[in-house]
Amino acid sequence: MPFLVLVLRNALRHKLRTALTVVGIVVAILSFGLLQTIVAAWYAGADKAAPDRLVTRNAISLTFPLPLAYRDKVRAVAGVKAVSYANWFGGIYQKPANFFPQFAIEPESYLAMYPEYRVPEEELRAFVRDRKGALVGRKLADTYGFRVGDTVPLRGTIYPGTWEFTVRGIYDGEDAKTDTSQFFFHWDYLNETVKKRSRGRADQVGVLIVQLEDADRAAAVSEAIDAQFASSLAETLTETERAFQIGFVKQTEAIVVAIRVVSYVVIVIILAVMANTMAMTARERLSEYATLKALGFPPVFVAGLVLGESLAIAVAGGAIGIALTFPAADAFAARVGTLFPVFQVAQGTVGLQLAAAALVGLVAAALPMRRAARVNIVEGLRAIG
């Protein structure tokens, strides 16, 4: 009884100091959670990648295309169930800051491979029927207010000119981790237009997407595909969709690493603040600790009082910080729009936040605990005057 009562009442003794410390921890745990969520969002594409999908691209780099004719050759490779293809369009909607991915696709084969994109039956039919139609993700539609029937102009950077598309359908994801920030339109429309302007660039695709019969044979099938085009005009590089996505993330890894490091720096900052609070608190209460020891309480009891108080403050701040992380993440996601297709606070992040708060409480108490436990009774009692 008296232990917990002492801990809790002590924690509330300096209301201003405790409140300030709690606010500091809330801010730290909140920003830690958001930064961890940003890092997770960076990897979100790779998380959702299906194990039975391969991506085949030009071995030189992604900016080099592949001939459309490769599609049939790849389909003939043993272990391949289906093949589709897509071109990165790289258009600008109104201004360059409005970034979202746009792909020219062959609708039927492509959407058959991505069952995680859920399109209402009639919208799907309307999209397939309209050569200049577009299919947009729910998040993208919400961000820019696209509705079925709207005309969306995109200014091409790779394919010159202004292109106009009519939104024919909006797709939802099968779960919150599905990327619904994409814009799809007909590859045929792109190709016909390119053909009119410069024949040389026609009938080319950015990537081939390969569906496997058996996900376990990914490595063997990848090799077989690449072997087929070795020493041809356009050599290929085939990897799983996940490896392909990770490849993108890895190239910006310096930034991810920096964000991750900074997310731990904030914990260290608040640790210094919390340690200071506990050091001052313990110093002010030395005579009480000496009294308790004189009464016969063991050093462990006194140290426990300091630790308990520190943990109580840290965990209270941590809990509030965690509770605030969810609305803050939603607000952040709404602000950045389609920049992060998936922005969700993971359960692991909450666990990390809780662990960080507890660690702050624990480490901050370490030195003051030692001091309180070791206080010399006679000197401590004298400190009262």
Partner: protein, 388 residues
């Protein structure tokens, strides 16, 4: 009559642990703040070094980057023949018609295939980039399947040593040298003969045309004429502006992220200072009463405690800035998502960053110290003395 500064200073020295922890928190915030500014400064400095002030760079309209741009031979010939273009020895215009492609090379530390810019350069290319100097080996020979690699490429990638061979575009290319482009973006590129690279990649068109102006002041006139020429669909920029625009997104991202984080983190450190100063006031109530009884005014007390908080912030600033300066030894490389290519740059300390971080630290000190100092100044003499 102000309270002597020594009073504030000695008080900080008297409680070392508290001073160290509070200043340490502030130091970390200053460190993050300065490091991010240094990163942005490093990026900008690399880009400024890349562009020469009297060079122009011509790309296809609205392409944005050289990778997405295409300028055909007829268009290039028109650009080359403009009267504003400077002439070199023998009356040849100083122009480089360049082709830029990306290839994926494995990074040395991680083995991750990373996009690297390959620049096929025309005969005038070297005259246009005086910042370039060979560090090792020799320059490629025109007409040969030879390339030279930039300094940071040589440091960070495998299989790019002098004498080694790279395979791309259906050919083997011998690396014959390493060049140093003075910390510019070219240090992250591989250079070869433009015509050879165009053949290998079967590209009939150039990516960009770079030209030197005889008179930098003639830029606007030239830009207006070329961009309205019906034979051309091009965009003309000063070379330096072009490279700055290319990294605007990265630079924006770094500075927005950095400033946001610094502001949020500074809340934590300011709270730390506030806690410390409130405790200092509480512990020294009797002392404050004595000072007031001796004849020091409220303003003097306010000043003394504010000075203590500011001194605390200055200690944090010095420590944070010292740690941040060490970051100058670190080189960062990342994908520039406007060009899809690797770009390496260094943390760079500038006098502006020193001044900005000082202001930032002082702001934290004043914000943390003001309310406690007000409380100290408002204590009644008799009440304060009784606290003894």
């Amino acid at each position: 009559m102000p309270v002597p500064l020594a009073y504030s200073l000695r008080n900080l020295r008297a409680r070392k642990l508290t001073t160290a922890l509070t200043a340490g928190g502030m130091a970390l915030v200053v460190f993050v703040f300065a490091a991010v500014l240094m990163l942005d400064a490093g990026l900008k400095s690399a880009l400024v070094k890349t562009g020469q002030p009297d060079n122009i760079l011509v790309t296809r309209r609205s392409a944005g980057t050289e990778i997405q741009s295409a300028v055909d031979r007829q268009q290039a010939a028109v650009i080359e023949s403009q009267p504003e273009v400077a002439l070199g020895p023998g009356g040849v215009p100083i122009v480089s018609k360049e082709v830029v492609v990306l290839i994926a090379l494995p990074k040395r530390d991680s083995g991750v295939p990373t996009n690297v810019t390959i620049r096929g350069v025309g005969p005038g290319g070297l005259a246009l980039r005086p910042q370039l100097a060979m560090a090792q080996g020799r320059m490629y020979r025109p007409g040969a399947s030879e390339v030279v690699v930039g300094r940071t490429i040589a440091e960070r990638f495998d299989g790019v040593g002098v004498g080694e061979r790279l395979r791309f575009g259906g050919r083997e290319w011998t690396i014959v040298g390493t060049f140093d482009a003075g910390g510019s973006a070219f240090d992250s590129e591989v250079w070869g003969d433009g015509e050879q690279l165009m053949q290998a990649f079967r590209r009939p068109v150039f990516s960009s045309v770079v030209a030197k102006l005889a008179d930098p002041g003639s830029f606007e006139a030239l830009k207006a004429r070329l961009e309205s020429d019906p034979r051309l669909t091009v965009e003309v920029k000063r070379e330096r502006a072009f490279y700055e625009d290319q990294s605007a997104a990265l630079s924006n991202f770094i500075s927005i992220l950095g400033v946001t984080l610094s502001v949020i983190f500074s809340i934590g450190a300011t709270i730390g200072a506030m806690i410390t100063m409130y405790a200092a006031v509480a512990n020294r109530t009797a002392e404050i009463g004595t000072l007031r009884a001796l004849g020091f005014r409220r303003a003097g007390i306010l000043g003394a405690f504010l000075a203590e908080a500011v001194l605390l912030a200055l200690v944090g600033w010095a420590a944070g800035l010292a740690a941040a300066s060490l970051m100058q030894l670190v080189q960062i490389s990342t994908l520039n998502w406007q060009t899809f290519a690797e770009l390496a740059f260094r943390f760079t300390m500038t006098p502006k960053i020193v001044a900005e971080s000082l202001l930032f630290a002082l702001a934290m000190g004043v914000a943390g110290g003001f309310l406690p100092a007000v409380r100290a100044a408002r204590l009644g003499i008799v009440d304060a003395l009784r606290a003894a």
